[in-house]
Symmetry: C2
Subunit: 217 residues, 2 copies
Amino acid sequence: MATRVWNDQTGPARYVAPDPDFWDPKLSDAARRLLGSAVLCFARNGFYGTRTRDISAGAKLSAGSLYTMFDSKEAVFFEITRSGHIDTLACLNADPGDGTPTERLQRLVSIYVEWHARYHTVGRACQHDLAVLTEEHFAEIVELRHQIEAIFRNVVEEGAKDNTFDAADIDGVLRAIHSLSIDVTRWYGLDGTESPQSIAALYSKFALRIATPPPSS
Amino acid sequence: MATRVWNDQTGPARYVAPDPDFWDPKLSDAARRLLGSAVLCFARNGFYGTRTRDISAGAKLSAGSLYTMFDSKEAVFFEITRSGHIDTLACLNADPGDGTPTERLQRLVSIYVEWHARYHTVGRACQHDLAVLTEEHFAEIVELRHQIEAIFRNVVEEGAKDNTFDAADIDGVLRAIHSLSIDVTRWYGLDGTESPQSIAALYSKFALRIATPPPSS
DNA sequence: GTCTATAAGTTGATAGAC
DNA sequence: GTCTATCAACTTATAGAC
């Protein structure tokens, strides 16, 4: 029934919440259980399709308990997007940053793609409905995204300087690699046999092909 | 403020409805105005974030008028997704299908990417929230997607047979090209200077690089 | 800290006038 | 064919008991 490239499928089995220690350690156990439930709801049905009662029920709490830990539904959503972007950035920053542009780009894409496969549920929850955030919260996410973008831009520009990479389309190359990576959250599901690592290996190969002009042209 | 690779931005200017004749000609003028309004709403806020009153108001109709033309909000959403997939398929099928696998893949990706840039608002409305469709409607969309997928698979498999393309990762290549193409609906906006045609040219080049193994390996 | 009950407002959809 | 008025159900968030 499901197409291979779209991975069309419904049902709850596709999504999986991260371990509780994925979330801010300053939060209580109950608050982190709530975030685990919320991330499943948001990934499945988006912000507007999720009711606060669904979130509470998934964490085995009553309807009103959510509001003792978070100010609003938007605050729950923001905490998820914030945590997701901060964790992504931390994983990318853990890279030593040495070696040739080719080696560095492969490592960065591998980290980035593995993150989006492993945390595809978080990524999916973060990707859509960012417009519901307050102006201040939105600005905070955009700032984190700038930092993530700069890491990739830095490597691609360096590779373009020494003619390893396509210097004519730096923005296009960056956008394409980025599209490939984050779109993993759309199609990656539990029923696939592929591990996050194998997807990461394949996609870092593809990213290199995109960035590297063929010898003829 | 907006990142280049994410193209983060809010506001209504980003989205644009297709011409009325994009929709099923069997529908009345008012019904097609309604679809034009609905596609803007769904692209911006998703299915659950859109109220039937918003759709009606955008078409300069009263709240109840929607229900004289469509049975439900889901029926409006289905008509949009159906039209979007049918038009995409028709554009791909208009390709003559001759030439080498390289030439054919470039043409197909060009058509597909140009569609997703030109109709990025429709594509965005179609991409998310497909889970809200009834079982029958969902199955109809999945069938259309199978046909779209088969067109690309056909070319990539033929190219793999004559060693033009990477025979080891056909599914991966198809998925990557597909990700690149449909993700255009996420980032493509009116403020960019790039035309649908220039994006299509760049991305068909990238698709070829993904499908073609470098001479060394 | 978690619960139940409820307030205040919103939503999809329908009925009937013009 | 489009409008206004309205229903019944639902939703976020709060109040106050335990």
